[in-house]
Structures are given as structure tokens and as C-alpha cells.
Amino acid sequence: MVKRLEEMSRRELLKLFGISVGAVIADSAAWPRNVQAQSKKITPRGTARNVIFIQNCGAMSQNETFDFKETKWTAKDLNIQKVNSEFLISKTLFPQYERWAPKAAVVRTLWENSLVHFTGMYHSQAGRAFNPAIIREVPAFGSVVAYELEKDRKPSDTFPTYMSVDLWNTRCPQIGSGMLHPKFAGLDLNTSTVFDSFAGGDAKAEVDLARRWEVLNRISEASPSGSGNTLGGKADEYGAHYEYAYKILMDPRFKKVLNVTDEERQRYGVDKDKGTCKLGLAMLLARNVLASDAGTRFMWVSNAYNGNNGAADNHDQIYGRGALAPRGFLLPIYDSVPRLDAAVGSLIEDLSKMPGKEPGKTMLDETMVVIGHEFGRTPDMNLNFGRDHWGPAYTDVFIGGGVKPGRMIGRTEGGKSIDHGWAYKQQPMKDHVTATVYSALGIDYSKKFEKTPSGRAYEYQQTAPLGGPSFIPLTDIAELFV
């Protein structure tokens, strides 16, 4: 009873794909097939060479930060400053705002229908809403970026196109490459262990690794299972991954990525950071990875702090200090925001001083930095003097990579959009942030994979209705660039 492939159900195919992935897509061009552009004519902007996407885990309150609104609950010590006529910011929370805020553009009317941290983070990472039926085949959108930019890779490139930092310690860890080849899965660096695990190697460690690599190859050749190729499936994949890993470990640029000075630690706020995952280190790794020009173009940075929902999940005592300070995984806004400010400010400052690939351009000119959130926080305080999850309007920040500084897109009142700030009737959504990243990198976000394991077409930018009857407009957020 041998079933022909076309007789199998979608779900059977999904599982088959999962266990035989090595055999099926050993040739990375073999899957997915039938990549097609949609009918709408899209010209991606191509304004950025790189993207750093910062997932500000926990959904930091926009009310105190990027869409400041003074209410009867607002603390009196926030020392509000004017970045421009529409951008007010707290100098108490962002003492170093002058290093990044004038370069920033802000979208304040983003709408999210799913108010759970996991699904919000999944939506950000996958570039589409969570759907358990097809979870196996959906790649992180960073993997799609890697798939698209594969053609630009040079023989000297050893780092994967898509890398991440501290994604492991978030509510939604690595999604992986789904239906795409495992080499697009992304390499996640863990700020709490990466330095101990990989930075310690001196010249002797490299000599040792090279010698052992030789021993491994000789033993594998003599082994009855060879390099694993008679085992099939997952064993085949390991062969490819070991080649990849060895090249990275032996590349002096990887050691350089992990070389962080005391001055940098201090400037990025690392030493004050009490989290397992230090945001300043994550930013330094992102900066160093891109600066090393070793093949990485898309960096995902998770502001994970101590895991769970992240440090900014301020349902209780958002202004709490001393005895009233929130406990466990959380930080009061007086600690979580300056921590972000120090790391982002230093990153933007450094990128703006580093030369880009093109003459006359800086790294910041060529790198789009996005600060993304799962959703927003309620405009009113709850009984615990905290703010709960809020979908009607939340804020993301965009800097560099062709983004026009000072663009303030959309206006809100009482937590709701009173002016979406763009050309469409619907509010912008995460899917448009995804399309914006694709577009900036020169990727046609209207493309779709027609042939997938489930049989459902995979759109680079999701357009299917989500939480309502309307299709999601197929567009990037053009207003950021003009």
C-alpha cells in the first residue's frame, strides 16, 4: 500500500516533509517551487542593505514612550521634551534620546488583533498571524529574507544571512525555516552564553579545532555509516550544518564579533543590566555582525531580559519603585526604558559613524533599525496602577536605511487612531511592517510560494482577512520614506 504523493492529505505531507527534509531539499533550489509575483505591480524600494529588527518584548507602553500622552495618571517627573512638533519624549526615561530620536520615524496607529504575547511575537517573527494548522511550514520572515538574498552571497561569506540574538529566551523562540532549506533557519546567539561558549578560543583553540575537524572527517570516512548518508533524513542535514558551523568557528571575523570592550559595555548599558539577556550586548553583537560583512544582512534582536513576556509587561505598578517595584521578570518603566535608551542610542550613534558599503554612505544610511512591539498598552491605568494589553493602536519606531527622520505617521486619542496617517482606510498592521522590511531590502513583498506542503499559497506579505472582513492591503508603509 504505497500512497502516491498526490493522494496524501495536506497534514500527511506536512509530516513527511518534516522527516524527510534532508532528502527532499538537499538541493536548496528544489523547494519551494513556483515562486510567483502577484498581479499587483510592486517595485521594492531597496533603500537598505541591512535590517536590525528589535523585538521590544513585553509590549512597552507607548503612552509613556513613543506616543506620549499626559493623563491624570502620568507621573510628574517625566521631564517631557520636544523632539519635533509631534514627537514628545521623556528625558527621565530616555536620558540619551538626542542620540536617536531626531533620526527616528514613528508609526503610531498600528493595529493588532491578537493580544497574547506569544501570538503577537509570532506574528512579528513569522510576518503573519499564528495558524497552528500550518505552523510546520511557516518560516520566520528572516528566513524568507535569507532565501531571497541568497543570490547576493559571496564565496567568502560564512555567516548566515539571517541571524538573531536572544530569541531563545522569549515567549516565542525561533520559528525556524519551515518549508525553506534549514540553512535559512537563522543562527541565534545567546548573550548569556555566547561569549563563554565561543569567544574564549585563542590561537591554540583554533589549531585544536582544525586538528579535531580532520580527525572527525577521517573517522567519518572510515565509519560504516560514513558521514551519515546511509542514515538519511536528519543525519544528512547535520553534514551540511557541520560544514557551516566549522566555517563560522574558524572565521576570525566571528571572534571579532565577540570582541566587546569595557568602554562599549559601559556605553551600551551592559554593566547596569541585571537580566540574563543583556540588551546592550545584543546590540553590540548586531552591530559587530553587520560590520564584519561576513554575509549577514538581517539581524533579529530580542529584548528578552529574563525571558517570559519580557521586562516591559507592566500590568502592575508601571511607575513602581522601591517597595512598589514590580517583581520577578518585570522592571518598572524607570528601569526598562533607560536600558533600551542606552542600547539603542549607542547602536544608532555607532552605525552613523561607521562607513557603509557605498562610498559616502554610513552604516545607518544602509541599515534600517526597527523597534517593534507585540501590541500596545491600555490608555487607562488598571487597579494595580499598570497597563494591560491594547490592540487598537500601538507604536513602532523606524530609523535609518532610507527612512525619513522625523516622520510621525498617524495620530491617536484615547488609545485609538484618529488619523491613520497613510493612504488606506484600514490601519497599518504588523504585516505592513514586514512588507516595509522586505521593500527596504529590495525584496518584492507581493511574491508568493504557490507550491507548499499544505497546498496553501504562502504570501510574503499576508493579505488574508484577519479579525475582520477586509483583506489586508498589499503595501509597505510608504509614508516612512517620503
Partner: protein, 301 residues
């Protein structure tokens, strides 16, 4: 599923326990879970995605629908056998393990085709689980961990253990090793290692963990957990074998047995002897390291 309701005055929980197994689907789902655990792939996939209208071979669904299980008769027979044997999980495990399908090799002679998968024509290889991976390194090198404290369930505080755990599999919750780093402790390194294998937290949804990645390779090649354990120092397996004055053949034999659970082949012994020719100690360290990094060690096969 049966439409039955609790009897008047009956404890609803007891009623649920009585009614639920009375439908054959309970047995089908249970045996399918055991089958999937033992053979990597279930007869119905995903294991929590049964379509009750597509299970009965005597009453197949109208075209273009097809029956859902890879082998509907087998699933039904296993389910009925499970029920007839008082829902004994042990009985199901024994039955499956005695089958030809379970005992097949991962090696497949001839050209492998995707369409053979539902026939279970070979053993499917799978990536180690996070706990398996980290514990196997300790076991193969005879260098158990000393987990002296774990993260407690209350208030996220450290709990000191009177008797240290030697393996992560001894912990009720493997995630408990996370976040407690003291001088000389390996807690965080253990957790980082498991993270490379997609160790999920209790509160996170399951991500398909049967995924091989370059980070796993990087960890196995350079993690301090591994580096320390392959050295001929202290009480590692290599150190003890060398201290015991064993012959080259004996040491090679024991390293293969402890790491790959098999004897070395002649060609492998020849390679190993060439490796130790220059420096016996470094050579055996390198062999131990290489064996941990062979695909044979890295996957369950």
C-alpha cells in the same frame, strides 16, 4: 463523542473518566501517540489532528477525500488490542516493539522514495531531544554533571539540593537548571546547550524540535561542557582509561562502545591508531571529541 451524560449524582470527573475511554477514539489516539513516540512518525499526523470521518477503512470518505491514517487497519487493530488488554500502555509498547516495522534499520538498501514513508519501510532518524543531547555528552564521557541547585517553582528562587543531580533527566522540569549561575557551576552552560536543541519552557508552545541546526554543531564542537569532558584530566573517561594503563586497542574499543554503543570497525581502528601515533593523550582526546561529533552520535537511529 458518545453523547452520554453523567448519571444523576455522579461525580463529573469520574463520569468523564468512565465515558471518555468508552469511545474507540480514545484508544486510537493513545496507541497513535505511542506509535509516534517509538517510530518518530505517527500513523495519523499530526497526532492531535484526527479527522473522525476519515478513519474507518470499511466506510471510506467520498472522493477526493482519502483515509487519514497511513495504515487504517493497523491503527484500528492496535486500538482494539489496547482496549482488550485493559488499556495497558506497557502492552502496546511491547506489541509495537516486537513488530518488524519497529525493528527495521535506519539504513535503506536501494533508492529511498518519499512515498515509502507511510509504509514505515525504514527506521526514521530523529534529532536528539535537548535533555538526551546534554545527558548523552555526560554519559559518553563518564563525567556526570553536578547540579547543586535548581530554580524553584515558587518565586523563581534558587533551591539548594542536598544531593546533587548528575543528569538533567533526573530533574522534574529540565528548565529548572536555567538562570542559576554560580562560580564553578555548569547550570547555565547546560541550559544553553539544551536551548540549541529547542528546549521549550512550560509556558511556551511546542516548536517542532526535530530540527538540526548549525548552532547544535557549534555547541557540540566548542561548548565548555564538551571541551572539559573530552580532556584526559580528572575523572573523565579518557583520563581513567589512560590512567588504567590499557592498551591502544582497549581504549579505542571502550571509547567506541561508550560513545556509539558499538565496536569499532577495522578501518576505524586503523584511523584511530594513526591519530594517536603522534601524541597518545591528545590523540585519544581528539578521538573522544570526534566520536561525540559524528552523525551517528548526534541522531537517534
Amino acid at each position: 463523542m458518545t453523547g452520554e451524560k453523567p448519571k444523576p449524582g455522579e461525580d463529573p470527573r469520574k463520569a468523564l473518566g468512565r465515558i471518555l475511554p468508552s469511545h474507540i477514539q480514545f484508544a486510537r489516539a493513545a496507541v497513535n501517540n505511542v506509535w509516534a513516540k517509538l517510530l518518530v512518525v505517527g500513523l495519523v499526523e499530526p497526532t492531535d489532528g484526527f479527522d473522525l470521518n476519515r478513519l474507518d477503512p470499511k466506510n471510506p470518505p467520498p472522493k477526493p477525500w482519502t483515509l487519514q491514517p497511513a495504515n487504517p487497519e493497523l491503527l484500528q487493530a492496535l486500538a482494539e488490542d489496547f482496549r482488550a488488554n485493559n488499556y495497558s500502555i506497557q502492552h502496546v509498547i511491547k506489541t509495537i516493539m516486537k513488530s518488524n516495522a519497529y525493528q527495521l534499520s535506519t539504513s535503506f538498501r536501494g533508492e529511498w522514495k518519499l512515498a515509502y514513508i507511510p509504509c514505515f519501510a525504514r527506521r526514521f532518524v530523529r534529532v536528539l531531544s535537548p535533555v538526551e543531547a546534554v545527558d548523552m555528552v555526560a554519559q559518553a564521557t563518564d563525567q556526570p554533571y553536578e547540579i547543586k541547585e535548581v530554580r524553584g517553582t515558587v518565586g523563581n528562587r534558587a533551591e539548594k539540593l542536598e544531593v546533587p543531580f548528575n543528569y538533567v533527566s533526573q530533574l522534574f522540569d529540565p528548565v529548572a537548571v536555567k538562570g542559576l549561575e554560580r562560580p564553578g557551576s555548569e547550570n547555565l552552560q547546560i541550559y544553553a546547550f539544551m536551548q540549541a536543541y529547542y528546549q521549550a519552557e512550560r509556558t511556551t508552545p511546542p516548536i517542532d524540535k526535530n530540527v538540526a541546526t548549525p548552532v547544535q554543531a557549534m555547541m557540540m564542537m566548542t561548548s565548555p561542557l564538551v571541551q572539559k569532558r573530552v580532556k584526559a584530566e580528572g575523572t573523565t573517561r579518557v583520563a581513567k582509561l589512560l590512567q588504567a594503563g590499557k592498551s591502544d586497542d582497549q581504549v579505542i574499543e571502550e571509547l567506541f562502545l561508550a560513545t556509539l554503543s558499538r565496536h569499532p570497525k577495522t578501518d576505524e581502528v586503523d584511523v584511530a591508531k594513526r591519530v594517536i601515533a603522534k601524541d597518545r593523550t591528545i590523540g585519544f582526546e581528539d578521538i573522544q571529541w570526534a566520536l561525540l561529533n559524528t552523525t551517528e552520535f548526534l541522531v537517534n537511529h
